[in-house]
């Protein structure tokens, strides 16, 4: 049985999200208090021990990142939070932002305290604009209660948080594109290096993490990195918010410890495939994530085990796809999404997605040819190697996996057959 362990989601839905009183009564700000007792060096140590990896998708160890900045005595100017979760099927940051934003803000405040940073930004995707008033109230209430603003909790540490809104652009989830957007420009990614710890927001060194990553910090500081790590596996500490979507009975966001097998997420938490259908495949990590079938379902959710199986956790979105769906039709949806979301800066991504869509469209109309499959491989490899940012590089992950695990469906379409009966093969 998959178990739910609520380290960061336990107060979601139970407290008034913008109420500091509710938050404190539920144990809030204990992490910040402890942080001020133990001091920056020890906080960094606890985060390191926690084996917390960035929850936005890249999975870089947070403690390592912070330690590098701390040891090098980097003068960080900004704390930025990525609340632009745009990977289809991902709605975990929405859970925190809408139901316990003060937890995120406490985490950001602790990060700011380590480096003596005065200004913080939360960039939230425009699709969540309905949360604007509540988030502004939460900040206002935290300032009034002296957990934000000047001389926090009577110390000489001051920190402000601003909320900035996106306006519908998946690419802004890429960290440099997000910073461009905060600065009021189009969200086109910057060249890296320099990295954000060298040149981030307004070209100043910037601490940059995902909503979920910051939200883990208060727990880690309050209870210690070792305890947090103990919930997870050898290499991946703590818990992860996973988002179940698609053809599964119990869709929703669940907090589960690392090490939980993917199969348990689908069948135990998710209750299995809906409408009595059979599982065709799952896609892990959103539309840029890997697609895999039954045979890899026992892989535990752990950064290392997934990597060993050529999979990636990404954002933690788990899309279940049943056998009433057609692989070609599914890939057309995925590629259509990337055509819409490509920023147009680099040619491989801008053109590649469109060319792939054209080929897939031919398959779906019974006009696919065997040599088209070679073209699909060639285009996807080219995009992987030559695209400017992660968007184009990962846009064809699903295509490559589907070719690998479900190649026979491509061949069937060439022969004029769609086993799911979705495509109109005239």
């Amino acid at each position: 049985m998959a178990k739910i362990v609520q380290l960061i989601s336990k107060n979601c839905g139970k407290i008034k999200p913008d109420s500091v009183t509710d938050y404190v009564n539920a144990g809030g700000y204990a992490g910040l208090k402890k942080a001020m007792e133990i001091g920056p060096a020890q906080i960094v140590e606890e985060v390191k021990k926690s084996k917390l990896m960035g929850r936005g998708g890249a999975g870089y160890p947070t403690g390592k990142k912070w330690e590098q900045g701390y040891v090098r005595k980097t003068v960080f100017e900004y704390v930025v939070c990525n609340g632009d979760e745009g990977e289809p099927g991902t709605y975990k940051d929405k859970l925190i932002l809408s139901q316990n934003p003060l937890l995120l803000m406490e985490g950001m405040t602790i990060a700011a305290y380590i480096f003596g940073i005065k200004e913080g930004y939360i960039y939230v995707r425009g699709e969540y604009y309905g949360l604007k008033e509540m988030l502004n109230n939460a900040i206002k209430n935290a300032v009034e209660a002296n957990y934000l603003g000047k001389n926090i909790m009577g110390t000489d540490f001051s920190f402000n948080i601003h909320v900035v809104w996106g306006a519908g652009a998946y690419v802004c989830g890429e960290n440099t594109a997000l910073l461009e957007s905060i600065e009021g420009r189009s969200g086109r990614p910057r060249q890296k290096p320099p990295y954000l710890s060298q040149e981030g927001l307004y070209k100043k060194p910037t601490i940059f993490q995902n909503v979920e990553t910051y939200s883990n910090i208060p727990y880690i500081v309050e209870h210690g990195g070792d305890e947090y790590a103990s919930y997870g596996t050898e290499c991946s500490g703590g818990t992860k918010l996973v988002c179940l979507s698609g053809n599964v009975i119990n869709k929703g966001v669940y907090e589960v410890p690392f090490g939980t097998p993917i199969r348990e997420l689908v069948y135990s938490l998710g209750g299995g495939v809906s409408n009595g259908r059979k599982l065709k495949f799952v896609q892990l990590g959103g539309s840029s994530g890997a697609c895999f079938t039954e045979e890899k379902l026992d892989t535990p959710m752990c950064y290392k085990a997934l990597k060993d199986n050529e999979l990636k956790l990404g954002s933690g979105a788990l899309l279940v796809v049943d056998d009433s769906n057609c692989v070609i039709d599914f890939l057309k949806t995925i590629t259509g999404f990337f055509i819409h979301e490509s920023c147009g800066k680099c040619t491989p991504c801008r053109e590649g997605n469109t060319r792939i869509y054209e080929i897939l469209d031919r398959f779906s109309k019974g006009r696919g040819k065997p040599e088209d499959i070679d073209d699909l491989y060639r285009l996807s490899n080219l995009m992987d190697i030559t695209s400017f940012c992660g968007l184009g590089q990962a846009a064809t992950t699903a295509l490559k996996d589907c070719l690998k695990y479900m190649r026979e469906e491509f061949d069937e379409h060439i022969e004029g057959k769609c086993r799911a009966g979705v495509c109109n093969l005239t």
Partner: protein, 158 residues
């Protein structure tokens, strides 16, 4: 809203954001909200360009980069149907068909009374109630034809 009133509202918005270039995106979001027809009128973009001291081409570049901004008048309410993978596998195409039937328009069109626009959208994180739609900041899911008709009636004020 007439143009003079809209331009004076725009002045207030720009002032609220300190007339700073960095806040261009936020200014555009607020402007579209008060425009009445969910779009960014060209004369407003010109006004923003002059007040923020930004070339019009830059303002236009940002205004056309983000998919939530419209450049022609839309319906009073925009019905956005998610067509990303999680909603797609749960029947977003059928849902689109239902809306097209109930409203008598195709995706991309506006109802003759100017109340509704119908369009597709990338995932907005309502995957737990997929296939989902969004009208402004309100999200609806687990929809049937009856529910859709009810929602439409409600927005029409019938």
């Amino acid at each position: 809203m007439n143009k003079t009133a809209l331009l004076s509202q725009l002045d207030e918005i720009i002032e609220k954001y300190g007339g700073l270039k960095d806040n261009l995106l936020q200014i555009l979001l607020d402007l579209q909200k008060v425009s009445g027809h969910n779009y960014l009128p060209e004369e407003c973009l010109e006004e923003i360009s002059s007040q923020l001291n930004l070339p019009l081409s830059k303002v236009y570049e940002v205004a056309t980069f983000y998919s939530m901004f419209n450049h022609e008048p839309k319906g009073k309410y925009i019905i956005e149907i998610c067509n990303s993978a999680p909603c797609h596998v749960e029947g977003a195409d059928d849902l689109t068909q239902l809306f097209e039937d109930v409203l008598g328009i195709k995706v991309g069109e506006i109802t003759t009374d100017g109340i509704f626009s119908l369009q597709h959208s990338s995932c907005f994180g309502a995957c737990d109630i997929s296939p989902a739609i969004k009208i402004g900041t309100e999200v609806y899911g687990n929809l049937t034809k009856e529910k859709i008709e009810e929602i439409i009636k409600e927005y029409r004020g019938e």
